[in-house]
């Protein structure tokens, strides 16, 4: 049985619009004013795929990417990764190599099969474009395994944002069933509450 909570990580250079994409997807909102991320942790939302309700926890970098200072624990248990660049910044596309490598090192995920997607954000700024769609698609094909799916989105208008997140959720679910754990590892405890674990639940 696929697990019902998926952890999705959004990575990419500072100011490519990671927090805006998440906010657009979860709250359908956009703020024109750019602020380095403060106050964003992870967002929780639901997606319906093939009649199944899936809870998504979408994790922001909390600004720790600005000086390449994300710790190992941020990546733990990630089921999928959204790599974001800005179509008006060529450097943000080339940086994706660094982000993808760092992600794979920390999670120990297999590069051929781990669910990644690439989002080229700010496609509403066509006149400032410096990254041609073909160039980004070439990057996506240059990796081992199946080509990475590429979406050009706008966190501002909402264009393609929903489709991109839905796609990465599907990829994560497929991965989840094919790589199912062989041994059952008992649940961790809930330190927020005072209940003894052996008092509640049916124990199955």
């Amino acid at each position: 049985m696929p697990k019902r909570i998926l952890k999705i990580i959004v990575l990419g250079n500072a100011s490519v619009g990671k927090t805006s994409l998440m906010t657009q997807y979860v709250n359908r909102k956009f703020s024109i004013q750019y602020k380095a991320t403060i106050g964003a942790d992870f967002m929780s939302t639901e997606a319906v795929i093939d009649d199944d309700r899936i809870t998504l926890h979408i994790w922001d970098t909390a600004g720790q990417e600005r000086f390449q200072s994300l710790g190992a624990s941020f990546y733990r248990g990630a089921d999928a990764c959204v790599l974001v660049y800005d179509i008006t910044s060529a450097r943000s596309l080339t940086s994706l190599d660094v982000w993808r490598d760092e992600f794979l090192v920390h999670t120990g995920g297999k590069e051929e099969t781990f669910p990644f997607i690439v989002i080229g954000n700010k496609c509403d700024k066509e006149e400032e474009r410096t990254v041609e769609k073909e160039r980004a698609e070439l990057w996506c094909k240059s990796k081992r395994g199946k080509p990475i799916e590429h979406f050009e989105c706008s966190a501002k208008t909402g264009q393609n944002v929903h489709e991109a997140f839905l796609h990465v959720t599907k990829l994560a679910l497929e991965q989840d069933t094919s790589d199912a754990q062989e041994v059952f590892i008992p649940e961790h405890i809930d330190v927020d509450h005072d209940t003894k674990p052996d008092q509640g639940g049916c124990g199955c």
């Binding site: 106050g39 200072s69 710790g71 190992a72 090192v105 008992p186 405890i189 052996d198």
Partner: protein, 525 residues
């Protein structure tokens, strides 16, 4: 550096647990923090290392043996603490985690058992009873003694519970006197004071009984929380704790930079802290300024610290469970109801975890020896292995020998494959450095838990800010704090911008006032 603002309330050096917790608490309170580490990873001395990093540190130039793993992915299955500690489930660290919502970033699991060593019958370990019921059932004492101990526990339950009216003043007598009142034997006293009160030596006997009773109450309350043992432990090792608090600080606007070489601490003419000059891994130099500097001892010149005492520790790799350790009764009862495939006690390669206290007198010492073990259930190591830890306060000139009772206990089942030993000086800040607006956190001590670390952080927070940490308040919402962070940024810019004009004092007072207003506004929301 693009997007780097050089002005802060506090510059924090080193990302150990204490520094990260301070950074988290300061950020949640609306202070602007720059947090720096020289390493490429978080955690400093409280990081959890993989097996390759462990070899790098202890046996440079040597690769780990193939059976411990041959690829980076396999090496990363190990998460080895250099400072073995557990989390008391009703203790101050848990309250702090819950208060700040940092529990979102961590997964905790219960330790299977808490034991005390007894030299009788060639040396074996016994589960520590902490409740009246358990004391009666324990094989550790004779019946009459059990009843006397149970009455003492009953008194403690009643008197130390803040929700029950106190009927007796336990501050007016020493613990020795209280023990005498219940006519408890010396071995029972040792057991209560060391295995439940978690005192490391016997000085507690002459101190007010209330102190020990409160500690026993904390132990019993922790045990009651999740069964099995009073201890919990985070998956992937203790290094997850500082990372959790660093994320908390980031969410509340703290700035994090790792791989930074701090080249110089800068001071004002009056000797107070002004800032730092540092270099990043791309050789770009920068300066940053703040009112306060807080850091781990290794970031400061030797003369700013002093040695308190020394601690000997051993990290051990085992391939058999520790002799005498087992899953708790509650775990086994739970397992009975389960499908065999899902039973914790029958999972292949999973060994029960434990904490064992070797009371000082049983091995002719003045300080206890602490032993612990944990395995793959906590993602500490691959299946069929176990990590064992031994630590104690150094008393002699041959500290490594002082670890022997612990190492022998770990090897009683013949499973001890290798051990990595260290002797560390516990450094604390030298007297008077706070006059420079500099605070140095002390090195991690040999206690089995984080209570001393947390109280040190809480005291530091109060000394630095003049405010107390209020854990009874609900956790702040990061969205509310954005306004406060912005006000703080504006104020810091003004404060430092006006330094040369000699108007610092005026701006400081005005700024503080303005920020208080914003904070009050947020409180009222």
């Amino acid at each position: 550096m693009e997007g780097f603002s050089p002005y802060y309330d506090a510059i924090i050096l080193g990302t150990g647990l204490k520094e990260c917790l301070l950074s988290g608490l300061l950020s949640v309170s609306g202070y602007k923090v720059l947090h720096i580490d020289k390493n490429s990873y978080y955690g400093a001395e409280s990081a959890s290392l993989n097996i390759q990093q462990l070899y790098q540190q202890f046996r440079p130039g040597m690769e780990p043996p193939k059976r411990f793993g041959a690829t980076t992915r396999e090496w990363k299955q190990w998460n080895i603490d250099l400072f073995p500690k557990f989390v008391l489930s009703a203790g101050a660290l848990v309250s702090t985690l819950v208060h700040t919502n940092t529990t979102h970033y961590l997964n905790f699991k219960v330790i299977d058992g808490s034991y005390v060593y007894s030299p009788a019958k060639g040396g074996c370990i016994h589960r520590v009873p902490a409740t009246v019921k358990e004391a009666i059932a324990s094989k550790l004492m004779k019946f009459g003694e059990k009843r006397r101990m149970a009455s003492l526990l009953e008194l403690i339950q009643k008197e130390c519970d803040p929700e029950q009216p106190s009927t007796r003043d336990l501050t007016g007598l020493t613990m020795k006197e209280l023990f005498a009142e219940f006519s408890l034997q010396e071995s029972t006293q040792d057991f209560i004071g060391h295995a439940m009160g978690l005192w490391r030596d016997d000085s507690y006997l002459e101190r007010p009984a209330k102190e020990t009773c409160d500690r026993i109450f904390l132990y019993a309350r922790s045990l009651a929380k999740f069964g099995s043992s009073p201890y919990i432990y985070p998956e992937y090792g203790l290094g997850e704790l500082p990372q959790g608090f660093s994320r908390l600080a980031s969410v509340f606007g703290g700035v994090y930079m790792i791989r930074i070489d701090v080249q110089e601490l800068l001071y004002n003419e009056d000797g107070t802290f002004r800032g730092i000059r540092a270099k990043n891994d791309e050789d770009i130099e920068f300066e940053a300024y703040a009112k306060w500097c807080i850091g781990a001892p290794s970031y400061f010149p030797r003369e700013m610290t002093k040695v308190s005492h020394s601690v000997a520790r051993a990290v051990c790799i085992l391939d058999k469970p520790i002799a005498g350790s087992d899953y708790s009764k509650s775990q086994k009862d739970k397992d009975k109801k389960k499908n065999p495939k899902h039973r914790l006690s029958s999972l292949p390669g999973f060994f029960p975890s434990c904490q064992i206290i070797i009371p000082q007198k049983t091995v002719h010492r003045r300080h206890d020896v602490y032993v612990s073990g944990m395995g793959t259930y906590y993602k500490s190591c691959p299946p069929n292995f176990m990590l064992g830890y031994v630590s104690t306060t150094v008393e002699t000139d041959s500290p490594r020998d002082e670890l022997k009772p612990g190492l022998e206990l770990l090897n009683k089942s013949g499973g001890l494959i290798d051990s990595f030993e260290t002797v560390n000086e516990i450094l604390v800040g030298a007297d008077g450095i706070e006059k420079k607006s500099v605070w140095i956190t002390s090195s991690y001590d040999e206690t089995s838990h984080f209570e001393t670390s947390i109280s040190e952080v809480m005291e530091l927070f109060e000394k630095i800010t003049g405010e107390k940490v209020d854990l009874s308040k609900p956790p702040s919402d990061p969205q509310d704090i954005v306004k406060l962070v912005e006000a703080r940024n504006k104020y810091l810019l003004e404060l430092y911008g006006s330094l040369e004009a000699g108007e610092r004092k005026e701006t400081e007072e005005d700024g503080e006032k303005e920020i208080k207003e914003v904070a009050e506004e947020i409180d009222q929301m």
